[in-house]
Symmetry: C2
Subunit: 275 residues, 2 copies
């Protein structure tokens, strides 16, 4: 099986990919989120894995909007705790490090550590690319901030482990396929939908009532403005339940009267693995 | 008046600041979001301005969580359309440019243009910093992607105007003060709140019903997981209405029975200026 992800070997997306699929798949890295969506749409990959939400930075609105528009289907959610490490050459010591390369966000998240060690931060495109660069340049005064996986891939040593300040940096990834490729035996325990309510007062409430009445628990609800029309909103909601279950089918059909649009983004197994 | 923002001169945050306040304030740039919050809390600035939501990247969860914890109050919302420009030295031509410096996100958003012009992208910490760097290095083969304001500040020429792919890249900023400094004549037309619902089925619906019943229109509703407790949620909501208005006061008091926590983040004038 071929799985498309964004980044190069050792990126956090690849870490999430292996966490979910194990090592027996072919992981194919792409430069951008867009290219991952394209690879799945054009059957160059069997499925894709991309970040959709992070506890620090929030939801990735753009990725959600692609799910809204394209004939794709979410078949899994994967949670990954982001752990940053200081990587440099084997046998090196933190005291030797003068420059550290990484993505601006990772540098920011490890700011306290970098400052304490008196290391100068240098921005790079991504964390894994920084690790690769440090390996290639082969200078003892240089290090990268990247995943543990990068230390293995690029033959670097971990000089500082879990050096991020905020220990609750968790990214939620979705695994998605083309609609005609939904696995037949998919365990559907949680469902993600997008909808627009009709323009009348209380439309959203009435619509959520249908879910509550049918004992369906919301786990996410998010309004996103529609830039072309600042007074209209798309709602993204997750709830516990199988999209083909009787109570969900009933709730969704009852909701229809208050909605101008609804789309099932996916129905998939519930993940409890946050670490 | 002293206003704290994140970034250096010419950053999009400073553009938003001037859009809202005009030029008759002292704009003080800080390295991080955290330092802006600190400056306001410690009375080093009269107010702060920070991004809270973007149409492409979504809400900035971390900034919202600071508002939740600290004794701060939102007194204005400011919308800024992000327009990226290719800046280089006066008299220069696009054909001469071989390298373009900017923040990875800006480079990504202008990817199509950069590719078409066969320019090599180089990551930098921020857009304004890239403009400053290009000016200082003074090489005709180098350019930056940054705001129009940067062209004035750093004496650069706009070689390519509005080169971003997505024309609906709008950032929402909040202007906030310490609670004891809320202006007395503040026009309160829109209100932002955060709340946690009690653990019973339909708690969220019941709470939104109180708003609907009192003719209060929601303009944003967003659940954020609480990382320490994956099954609990904080909701952020915006609605049209003065927090001191009779209908809002009634709705909020009626909501209390279903809530374990509520905080008014601010009540401020409605902004319709999206450009």
């Amino acid at each position: 099986m071929k799985v498309a992800y964004q980044g190069i070997e050792g990126s956090y997306s690849e870490v999430a990919l292996f966490k979910h699929f194990g090592k027996n798949v072919k992981a194919v890295g792409h430069q951008t989120f867009e290219e991952v969506f394209e690879a799945v749409k054009k059957n160059k990959a069997d499925c894709g894995i991309l970040p959709f939400e992070n506890t620090i930075t929030g939801s990735l609105a753009m990725n959600y909007s692609v799910l809204l528009e394209e004939e794709l289907y979410v078949i899994a959610e994967v949670f990954l705790k982001i752990r940053h490490n200081l990587l440099s050459h084997k046998g090196n010591k933190v005291e030797n490090i003068k420059f550290v390369y990484s993505h601006p966000q990772a540098l920011e998240q490890c700011k306290d550590y970098i400052k304490k060690q008196k290391i100068e931060p240098v921005p790079e495109y991504d964390t894994a690319g920084a690790a690769k660069l440090v390996k290639e340049r082969n200078k003892m005064e240089e290090a990268a901030i990247a995943s543990e996986l990068c230390s293995k891939i690029y033959g670097l040593e971990i000089l500082g482990e879990e050096i991020e300040k905020n220990k609750n940096n968790i990214t939620k990834f979705f695994v998605f396929v083309k609609k005609e490729k939904i696995p037949k035996n998919l365990k559907k325990e949680k469902t993600s939908i997008a909808f627009k309510t009709k323009h009348f007062p209380g439309a959203l409430v009435s619509c959520l009532q249908r879910l509550a009445k049918n004992n369906i628990n919301l786990t996410k609800l998010e309004s996103r403005p529609i830039p072309e029309n600042p007074w209209e909103y798309i709602f993204y909601a997750d709830f516990i339940g199988d999209v083909d279950g009787e109570n969900v089918k009933l709730a969704l059909s009852e909701m229809e009267a208050t909605l101008s649009f609804i789309k099932i983004l996916g129905s998939y197994p519930l993940s409890n693995k946050y670490s």
